[in-house]
C-alpha cells in the first residue's frame, strides 16, 4: 500500500506518520503542499503539527494549499483520507468533515495518554479494532475541543459517523476522561461516505511497544485491511 503524507509548512508529525506506516510494513512518502499531484496514493494522511504556525486559526490557511484541491478530488472519488490532530483541523476547515475544533476548555495545551472507545467498527478506519478494546493513545493539542451545532451532531449520530470517543479505562464516557471539553466526548469522526476521517489523538505515536503503547496500530491495520479489500474487489 502507498500512503501519501502531506507536508505543509510546519507540519511536524509528518515524519512520524511516515515512520509509523513504514514500521507497520507499508510504504509512505511525503507530498509537499505546493504539489498538486498525490502520485499513486492509496491513502492520504493529513498529519499533525502547526501548519502555517496555526496563525489565523488552526488549519485555516492550509486548506488553501494547492494539494488540498487534489485531496478533495481524491476523497470525492472514494479515496481514504485520515486527518490526525492538526490534520483533523485542516479537514474540518476544508469542509471535508463537519464541525470544528476549538480551544480546549481549560485553555491549556494537553499532552497525555487518553483512553479511546471505538464507537463503531463500521468504517475503513475502525474495522480491525478488536471488539470492546479500549485504545490507549496520546493526545497533544491546544485546540481539540470538537464542536458542532445540534443539527450536525444529530446527523453524526444518525449516520453513525462518530468513530472514537474519550473514555476512562473501563470505557465509560465520563466528563473527567474528556481532556478538552469535546461535545459527546468526540475524539474522531468520519464523513457520510465513511472514506474521510479525522481524530485528535495520535495513533502514529502509539505503534511500537517501546513508545509505551502500540494500540494505535489498530487504526492503521483497519486502513490496510480496507485497502486490501478494495484491491481485491477491483481485481475481481
Amino acid at each position: 500500500m502507498n500512503f501519501s503524507v502531506l507536508q505543509f509548512p510546519a507540519s511536524n508529525c509528518d515524519q512520524d506518520a511516515v515512520h509509523a506506516v513504514r514500521h507497520l510494513g507499508h510504504s509512505a512518502r511525503l507530498v509537499w503542499h505546493k504539489d498538486a499531484a498525490l502520485g499513486d496514493a492509496d491513502c492520504v494522511i493529513v498529519p499533525g503539527g502547526f501548519s502555517y504556525g496555526d496563525y489565523l486559526r488552526c488549519g485555516a490557511i492550509a486548506r488553501f494549499s494547492p494539494v488540498m484541491q487534489t485531496v478533495k478530488q481524491f476523497a470525492d472519488n472514494g479515496g481514504l483520507v485520515l486527518g490526525i490532530c492538526n490534520g483533523f483541523q485542516v479537514l474540518t476547515e476544508s469542509h471535508l468533515l463537519p464541525g470544528a475544533l476549538i480551544r480546549n476548555r481549560d485553555l491549556q495545551f494537553h499532552c497525555e495518554n487518553i483512553f479511546l472507545k471505538t464507537a463503531t467498527n463500521d468504517s475503513p478506519f475502525t474495522s480491525k479494532i478488536p471488539a470492546g478494546k479500549i485504545l490507549r493513545v496520546p493526545i497533544a493539542h491546544g485546540e481539540g475541543c470538537y464542536f458542532a451545532d445540534e443539527e450536525t451532531l444529530a446527523k453524526l449520530k444518525a449516520n453513525n459517523q462518530i468513530l472514537w470517543q474519550y473514555c476512562d479505562k473501563d470505557g465509560n464516557l465520563t466528563d473527567s476522561a474528556n481532556p478538552n471539553g469535546a461535545l459527546l466526548n468526540i475524539a474522531g469522526i468520519c464523513n457520510e461516505n465513511r472514506n474521510v476521517a479525522g481524530l485528535m489523538p495520535h495513533p502514529e505515536r502509539a505503534c511500537e511497544p517501546l513508545l509505551g503503547s502500540d494500540e494505535g496500530k489498530w487504526i492503521f491495520e483497519s486502513i490496510f485491511a480496507a485497502l486490501k479489500n478494495k484491491t481485491v474487489a477491483a481485481a475481481a
Binding site: N12, C13, D16, H19, G53, I114, F115, K169, E204
Partner: protein, 808 residues
C-alpha cells in the same frame, strides 16, 4: 543620520570600562564609530566573551575520545554515540529577558538553543529545561513566607515561562522530555530559564561555523531584521534593576516558532546539497557576533552590505542593523557558484534570503551602509582579544555561620506522615505534571521514558537523522542504523550551592549522574549553565569560583566531559543576589532497550532494597543541612549541605548499572530532596498510565534494620564527640526519613533475587539492605520509634495536584 559623538558617558552606557575602551581604540588604531562602539560593547559583554569566567571555565574536563567537537569550538559540542552517529547538545539561559517578559523571554530561549543545534548540521530531537521562580505558595509561619502580591507575581512569571516554552517547542515540533523546577524566594524578581536542546547527526554531517573560502558569497536567510532585541546580550550582562523591567522591554526579542521550523528544515535541506561552506545562527548580538565569529574561526575576513539585509522597519541605522537580535536568522557561507541552490530551497520554503556579502582575505570585518564604510574591525582581535579578568574571591561571612549550624533546638518530628504529605506537596518536590502536560513530549516518535521518572530516555532511529547528501548516501550505502537510547537529565539544588558552593556543585553533578544510573545510562558528557550573581563582589565571585571547582571535579569523576555551556552573571534583583545555581545537564547512553529502567515499583511482592548508607554518620547534622525538610517544616535554609563523596557515588552508580545490565533491577529511584521517605512515596505513586489514571502500588517498609546497623557502627568509633552525635542520629527520625544524605538509591527486584542483589552490591562495596516489599494500597514505614502509614490516594493527591491547585 548623524551618529552621536563618542564620549566617556556613551562608552560607560555601553558597559565598557575606560580600560576596555582604550584597548578597543588600540585595536582599531583610531576612535571607533558609533556602530563599532556598539559592536565592542556586545562582543565584550560577559554573554559573548566570558571575560569574568574564562579562567574558571578552563578548569572543566573537556576531553574524551568520544568528543568530536569540543567546548568553545562551535555553537555546541558533539559526541560520538557509535555506528557513525553523534549527538550535539547544549544548554543556555534566558534569565533576564524572562524576568521582563516571561512568555517571549522563554520562547526565544528555546528558539536560540534549537538554532545552536541545527547550526551544527544536527536535527534537533528533544528539549529539556531547568526553571527557577519565587514561591508560588505561602509557606505558613516560616521566615520564608511571602506576601500575596509577590506570590501572584511569581505565579505570573511561572505560567508565562511555561506557556512560552510550550508555545515554541510544540509548534516547532520538538518534544520537551525532561526538566526541573524549583521555587525559592532567592529567585523572586530574577527567575531562571535554562533551555537545553539535543540533536542527532552522522559524523560526516558536522557543519562548522567558519567563514571559509575567500571569494565565497555570504547569505542572510530568515525573517527580516527589526529593532527588537537591540543589544540583548549587553542587557543580559547587567544587574536587573527596578527600572529595567520597563526600560529594557525593547531588549527582549520576539520568537516565531513557525519561522524557526521553516528555517531549520530549509537549512537541513540545504546542507544535504553540499553547497554550504559554513553556517552560523544570528543569536546574541545578531549580525555582529555571527560575522565576527565566523571570520575569526576561519582566519579570514568578511565584508557585508547592510543595504542588502532584509529590513522590517524603515530607516534603520547601521548601529541598529548590526546589533538587532531579531530571531530565527542564519548566516550561511556558500561555495561560490552554488548560489542557485540556496535560492531554490529558501524560495521553496517561502523564506526571505539575501546575498549580503563576501569572504575576504583581509582578516577584517567590514560593513558598508549607504555607500559608506561604517565598520572596519580586525575580526580575530575583537573575538579573541576580549578582556579577561581574574576577579578577587573571598569567602563570605555567612559560610562560618552555616558551618556552625546544629540541630539543637530543632525538635525531632512526631508526625512523620504529616511531614511526608507536606513535603510531597512542596512545589519544588511535587509532581510537575502541570508543567510537562503543556509540553508536547512525544512528537518525533522517540520518547521512551516520558517526563516523571528520574531521567528522560529517547531513542534515535534512522529517520531521526538529517537527510544525507548524495555523496554521503553513496558512501554509507544502507542508511539503516541500529537504534540508540539516550538518557538525559538536568539538576541543581541552588540552596545546597548557596550553603556550600563546592559541595553543592559536586552534588548537582552527582545527582544528575545518579538519575542517569537509575534510568540505566552511563554518562557521555555534560553541559553546564552557570546562573550566578555579580562577579564584581569578591564574596559573590567566591561562590562562582567554588561552584566551578565542584562542577569540574564532579564531571571529572563521572567521566562526563563538559562540551559547552553558558554563563549568566549579574543575576540579582533589588532584593539581593540569587543563590548561585550552576545547572548541570548530563547526557548518557543506555546500551540495550531492556536496560531502560523507571523509578516506580512494578509488582506486588517485589523486594525493596536501599543502596547506599542510610544516613551519613560523619555529618554532624545527618544530611539535614539545606534539606527541604528544614526549609518546609522549620523555615530554615541553613546548615552545611550533605557531603558528596564522589568515589562513593561513582561506585554506587556503576554497581547499579551492573545490576541493571544483569536484569536484576525492576525499578530504581534516587533519594534527593525530601530524602528516603519521599523517594519511597514517589516509587509508589509516580507511574502514570493515562490521564487521571495513575497506577498506585503500596509498600511495607521496615527501617529499624537500618537504624540498628548504624547504631553498631557508631559504637565502634573512637571519637567520643562524634559517637555522641551519631547516637543522636540513631534516634533522630527526621534525619532517617527526610535527611538528604547523598548517594542513596531505592531499587526493587523480584523477591527471589533480593539476596543476590544485596550480596552483589556489598561485594562491590556498596551498603545494601532489604528494607521492605511492594504491595497494598498504603505506604507503611516501621522505624525504631514506631510505625506510620499513609493511604496512597492521599499521598498521590498531595504530590500530583499541589502545583495545579496553586495555579488554579
Amino acid at each position: 543620520m548623524t551618529e552621536p559623538a563618542i564620549t566617556p558617558e556613551l562608552v560607560a552606557k555601553h558597559n565598557l570600562t575606560p580600560e576596555e575602551y582604550a584597548h578597543a581604540v588600540e585595536i582599531l588604531g583610531r576612535t571607533p564609530s558609533y556602530t563599532e562602539l556598539g559592536i565592542f560593547s556586545v562582543m565584550w559583554s560577559e554573554h559573548c566573551s566570558y571575560k569574568n569566567t574564562k579562567p574558571l571555565l578552563k578548569t572543566f574536563p573537556t576531553k574524551s575520545p568520544k568528543i568530536l567537537v569540543g567546548a568553545g569550538e562551535e555553537n555546541a559540542g558533539i559526541i560520538d554515540v557509535g555506528d557513525g552517529i553523534a549527538i550535539a547538545f547544549k544548554i543556555e539561559s534566558h534569565n533576564h529577558p524572562s524576568a521582563v517578559e516571561p512568555f517571549q523571554g522563554a520562547t526565544t530561549g528555546v528558539g536560540g538553543i534549537v538554532r545552536d543545534i541545527f547550526t551544527m548540521g544536527a536535527r534537533p530531537v528533544c528539549a529539556v529545561n531547568s526553571l527557577r521562580f519565587g514561591p508560588i505558595t505561602a509557606n505558613g509561619e516560616s521566615d520564608i513566607s511571602n506576601s500575596k502580591a509577590e506570590i501572584a507575581n511569581n505565579r505570573r512569571l511561572f505560567a508565562g515561562v511555561v506557556s512560552g516554552i510550550a508555545h515554541y517547542g510544540n509548534c516547532f515540533g520538538i518534544p520537551t522530555v525532561a526538566g526541573e523546577v524549583y521555587f525559592d524566594k532567592t529567585y523572586q524578581g530574577n527567575p531562571l530559564v535554562n533551555a537545553f536542546c539535543l540533536g542527532v547527526l552522522r559524523h560526516e554531517q558536522i557543519t562548522r561555523g567558519a567563514a571559509k573560502g575567500v571569494g565565497n558569497p555570504v547569505f542572510y536567510v530568515g525573517p527580516a531584521t527589526g529593532r527588537d532585541g537591540l543589544a540583548g546580550a549587553a542587557f543580559a550582562s547587567q544587574d536587573l534593576t527596578e527600572e529595567s523591567a520597563e526600560q529594557q522591554r525593547g531588549a527582549v526579542q520576539v520568537g516565531d516558532p513557525f519561522m524557526e521550523k521553516l528555517v531549520c528544515e530549509a537549512c537541513l535541506e540545504l546542507l544535504a546539497t553540499g553547497a554550504v561552506a559554513g553556517m552560523q545562527d544570528m543569536g546574541a548580538a545578531g549580525l555582529t557576533c555571527s560575522t565576527c565569529e565566523m571570520a575569526a574561526r576561519a582566519g579570514t575576513g568578511i565584508e557585508i552590505e547592510l543595504d542588502k539585509v532584509p529590513q522590517r522597519a524603515a530607516n534603520m541605522s547601521s548601529y541598529e542593523l548590526m546589533l538587532s537580535e531579531s530571531q530565527e536568522r542564519m548566516l550561511i557561507v556558500v561555495h561560490k557558484g552554488r548560489e542557485e541552490e540556496v535560492k531554490r530551497i529558501f524560495d521553496k520554503w517561502d523564506l526571505p534570503w539575501a546575498e549580503i556579502g563576501i569572504i575576504t582575505d583581509t582578516g577584517h570585518m567590514k560593513v558598508r551602509h549607504g555607500g559608506k564604510l561604517v565598520v572596519d574591525i580586525p575580526a580575530r582581535k575583537i573575538a579573541d582579544e576580549s578582556p579577561v579578568y581574574q576577579r578577587e574571591a573571598k569567602e563570605p561571612a555567612y559560610i562560618a555561620e552555616v558551618k556552625a549550624f546544629r540541630l539543637d533546638g530543632i525538635a525531632d518530628t512526631i508526625a512523620p506522615a504529616d511531614v511526608l504529605k507536606k513535603l510531597l506537596a512542596f512545589p519544588s518536590i511535587a509532581s510537575k505534571n502541570w508543567v510537562y502536560r503543556q509540553y508536547d513530549h512525544q512528537v518525533r516518535d522517540g520518547s521512551v521514558v516520558l517526563p516523571g521518572s528520574d531521567a528522560a530516555v529517547i531513542r534515535i532511529k534512522t529517520d531521526s537523522l538529517p537527510v544525507m547528501s548524495a555523496e554521503l548516501a553513496a558512501k554509507v550505502g544502507d542508511p539503516t542504523v541500529s537504534e540508540k537510547l539516550i538518557a538525559m537529565t538536568v539538576d541543581c539544588n541552588g540552596g545546597y550551592v548557596y550553603l556550600d558552593p563546592y559541595e553543592g556543585a559536586k552534588s548537582a553533578v552527582a545527582e544528575a549522574c545518579r538519575n542517569l544510573a537509575c534510568s540505566g545510562a552511563l554518562p557521555l558528557g555534560a553541559t553546564d549553565n552557570l546562573n550566578m550573581p555579580s562577579p564584581l563582589k569578591p564574596e559573590l565571585f567566591w561562590q562562582i569560583k567554588e561552584s566551578v571547582r565542584g562542577l569540574a571535579e564532579g564531571c571529572k569523576a563521572f567521566n562526563a566531559p563538559v562540551t559547552g555551556g553558558n554563563c549568566s552573571l549579574y543575576n540579582q534583583s533589588p532584593a539581593g543576589p540569587i543563590d548561585p545555581t550552576p545547572t548541570i545537564s548530563v547526557v548518557g547512553l543506555i546500551e540495550k532497550l531492556e536496560h531502560v529502567t523507571t523509578q516506580w515499583f512494578k509488582d506486588e511482592g517485589d523486594a525493596i532494597i536501599l543502596l547506599g548508607e542510610a544516613v551519613d554518620q560523619a555529618d554532624p547534622i545527618f544530611g539535614l543541612g539545606g534539606s527541604a525538610y528544614l526549609q518546609v517544616i522549620h523555615g530554615k535554609k541553613n546548615g552545611s549541605p550533605p557531603r558528596c563523596d564522589l568515589e562513593v557515588a561513582k561506585t554506587l552508580h556503576t554497581t547499579l548499572i551492573g545490576l541493571i545490565q544483569s536484569g536484576l533491577v525492576k525499578s530504581a529511584h534516587d533519594c534527593s530532596e525530601g530524602g528516603l521517605a519521599v523517594a519511597l512515596a514517589e516509587s509508589c505513586i509516580s507511574q502514570l498510565i493515562a490521564r487521571d489514571t495513575p497506577r498506585l502500588i503500596g509498600a511495607t517498609i521496615d527501617l529499624s534494620v537500618v537504624a540498628a546497623s548504624r547504631q553498631s557502627a557508631a559504637d565502634q568509633t573512637e571519637d567520643k564527640n562524634a559517637a555522641l552525635s551519631r547516637d543522636a542520629a540513631t534516634v533522630r527520625l527526621d534525619a532517617l526519613l527526610f535527611g538528604e544524605t547523598q548517594s542513596r538509591i531505592v531499587i526493587s527486584c523480584k523477591a527471589l533475587d533480593a539476596v543476590k542483589v544485596v550480596e552483589r552490591a556489598k561485594l562491590m562495596g556498596v551498603p545494601a539492605v532489604q528494607i521492605g516489599k511492594v504491595g497494598g494500597d498504603k505506604l507503611t514505614v516501621k522505624t525504631a520509634s514506631g510505625e506510620f502509614s499513609a493511604p496512597l490516594t492521599e499521598l498521590h493527591d498531595a504530590w500530583w495536584n499541589s502545583i495545579a491547585r496553586a495555579m488554579a
